[in-house]
Amino acid sequence: MLKILKYSFFDLIRSRWSYVYLLFYLGLGSVLLFLNNDLSKAVITLMNVITILVPLIGTIFGVMYYYNSKEFTELLLAQPIKRSSIFIGQYLGVALSLSMSLIIGLGIPFALYGLFQSDEIWDFGLLLVTGTFLTLIFTALAFNIALYNENKIKGFSYAILLWLFMAVIYDGLFLMSLVAFQSYPLDSFSIGATMFNPIDLSRILILLKLDISALLGYTGAVFQKFFGTGFGLLISIVALSLWVVLPVLNIYRKSRKKDF
């Protein structure tokens, strides 16, 4: 698996798209920091960008890589290598190279700006952790979609739909159900509902950092426990990890049964 990971990774970091992605983050980080000169604002803007853009890039890249390397995969399948190694290896190759682009692309401008002397370093660290989690999750989901759909167009459509659903539609439905059932106690429900959407989970991680003052204004005991203690952070991290592990396990499961 490590060999496959190595080859996929090097294949990807030499591709044009990785550079574009890296340059995008380099540019975004530099513009936010050096034109605005406001570290806090830069971190807030980046957090908004990351929760939306990273999942989109993760899904698109994941699906694209899978379909583009289909023949290569078949070549590998004829080699004495375990199937799961091939797919998990490729998955990790994509996810890690995307994460690298993110971390390096944002890390360089922030380091140049003198982040390490600043209090914002924790916010920034959280930003990178969240971004990496989202990359791992959405690339895994993309691989799942691709494994289940031979048809490239269909696969791409499902990937975009998945992103749209997680990024926008889910929260719309969530908001509507909260408003519709506002006469009932809803805090357990609302925390539960965030667990089923990794974008919401990463948002929670960010909220815990940026908006804790506002969150603590809410009166529910469950919210108080969730946001007021380390509990929320712990639960969110655990749930995010599950969101990585479960799709990866399914890649493992599905790849062993699939015909090529």
Binding site: D171, I191, R203, S213, L215, G217
Partner: protein
């Protein structure tokens, strides 16, 4: 000749007597002639100084009934052993300096204090340290005094059986400065007290309010720090209060705020720093207030307006990274917002005059939604929320459409 004149003549005579009679110093210590403070007071003449040497004195209900200076050397301990009030001042011109007073008795029927000043003038209480107290320094119907550089360290657990650190009741023209008050019910409490100056105090970790005003007018508080109090600072039913250069920090909780303004008119709130409070300023029924030069940094809500508030001016403030800059619970607006810097402003300044070319709308639709259904706060910063906020910004339906800062600054003050 009325009572007031008599009073002044009496005062003059006392002063003269004091000036001519040589004031004596009476020492209190374990091996001295006077081994207790009460003893020394009984023996002292008006105008004398009582010097309390280092040691522990188990006394309570000490009544200071003549003009005296009571001075502690190296913080002698007056231990009330939880039996009741410790020092009661009932004479003018009393100075208490440098005592360490502990174990004030808790009572559900009377407000026992470490030091109580009753109907007296020209008192000075300074360098006193209070611990294990019920009420700390209680100024009752006493004017023209000073409470300076004291330290009140409580250990309050519940509101119903704890007292306030420094309390003023029906008192006028008192200065409360450079005190440190911690872990009591209200750090500093004012009721029916006018012309009070409160400055350079640090009031932190109190159960309820760091500072609490009720029915008190023309007071000034400047350069104080209020941090991590149960509910922040409450200013209620008062007129013409000036609040300058104070710091309000980390007042977190479901009913916590930097300042709560309730039925306040004609106040000025200038150059304060509000940082990381759940609500920086909570306003109910308050009119003709000027807010200017304040910094609102990373608060849950910078300003939350409930109920009718008219003719307020909010200008030249910095609103930085607050979750919500402003929340309104009605569609009407009669307040003026101008020349503020909003970190959430995304407009542009093509004519380079430092003022944004498009107005800023500080009230988001989402704040309205959260007011209605508090649980929705969990959706903050979601793309979906950004989209509905944007559509509301374009055509306001739920939020006051005339509420905007027409001259948002491009750079912070």
């Amino acid at each position: 000749m009325n009572y007031r004149n008599l009073h002044i003549i009496f005062l003059l005579i006392t002063l003269l007597v004091n000036a001519f009679a040589k004031a004596e110093t009476i020492t209190v210590c374990a091996s001295c002639q006077h081994t207790s403070l009460s003893n020394a007071i009984t023996a002292a003449q008006a105008g004398d100084t009582i010097l309390v040497k280092k040691g522990t004195y188990k006394e309570y209900n000490i009544v200071v009934d003549k003009p005296l200076t009571i001075k502690g050397e190296n913080f002698p301990i007056i231990d009330g052993e939880d039996k009741g009030e410790i020092i009661r001042i009932v004479s003018d011109n009393v100075t208490i300096d440098g005592l360490f007073i502990i174990n004030v008795g808790t009572s559900y029927t009377s407000d026992h204090a470490a030091i109580r000043v009753v109907r007296s003038e020209h008192f000075l209480i300074q360098n006193v340290v209070l611990e294990k107290l019920f009420f700390g320094i209680y100024i009752e119907k006493s004017n023209n005094g000073k409470v300076y550089h004291n330290k009140v360290i409580g250990d309050a657990q519940d509101e119903y059986n704890s007292g306030n650190g420094i309390q003023l009741w029906y008192s006028k023209n008192v200065e409360v400065s450079n005190n440190i008050v911690q872990k009591v019910r209200d750090g500093i409490y004012l009721e029916f007290s006018d012309d009070i100056l409160i400055k350079d105090n640090v009031s932190t970790n109190n159960l309820r309010y760091g500072l609490h005003f009720m029915f008190s007018n023309d007071d000034v508080y400047t350069n104080n720090t209020f941090e991590n109090n149960g509910a922040g600072v409450a200013v209620m039913f008062s007129k013409r209060i000036k609040m300058f250069n104070n710091t309000f920090k980390k007042n977190w909780g479901t009913a916590a705020f930097g300042i709560l303004l309730k039925e306040i008119n004609d106040a000025e709130i200038k150059d304060n720093l509000f940082e990381e409070n759940t609500v920086a300023i909570n306003i109910e029924g308050s009119n003709r207030i000027v807010y200017s030069g304040n910094d609102f940094i990373r608060n849950g809500y910078a300003i939350k307006v409930l109920g009718a508030c008219y003719n307020n001016t909010i200008e030249k403030n910095n609103f930085l990274y607050n979750s919500f800059d402003l929340s309104y619970n009605s569609k009407l607006n009669d307040n003026v917002f101008r020349d503020n810097y909003w970190s959430n402003y995304t407009g542009y300044d093509l004519d380079k005059d430092g003022v944004g070319d498009v107005p800023f709308r500080p009230v988001k639709l989402f704040s309205y939604v959260v007011n209605k259904t508090p649980e929705t706060i969990i959706l903050m910063r979601s793309l979906f929320i950004d989209i509905i906020d944007f559509s509301e910004k374009v055509s306001p339906v739920f939020t006051p459409d005339n509420l905007q800062d027409l001259t948002p600054k491009m750079t912070r003050y």
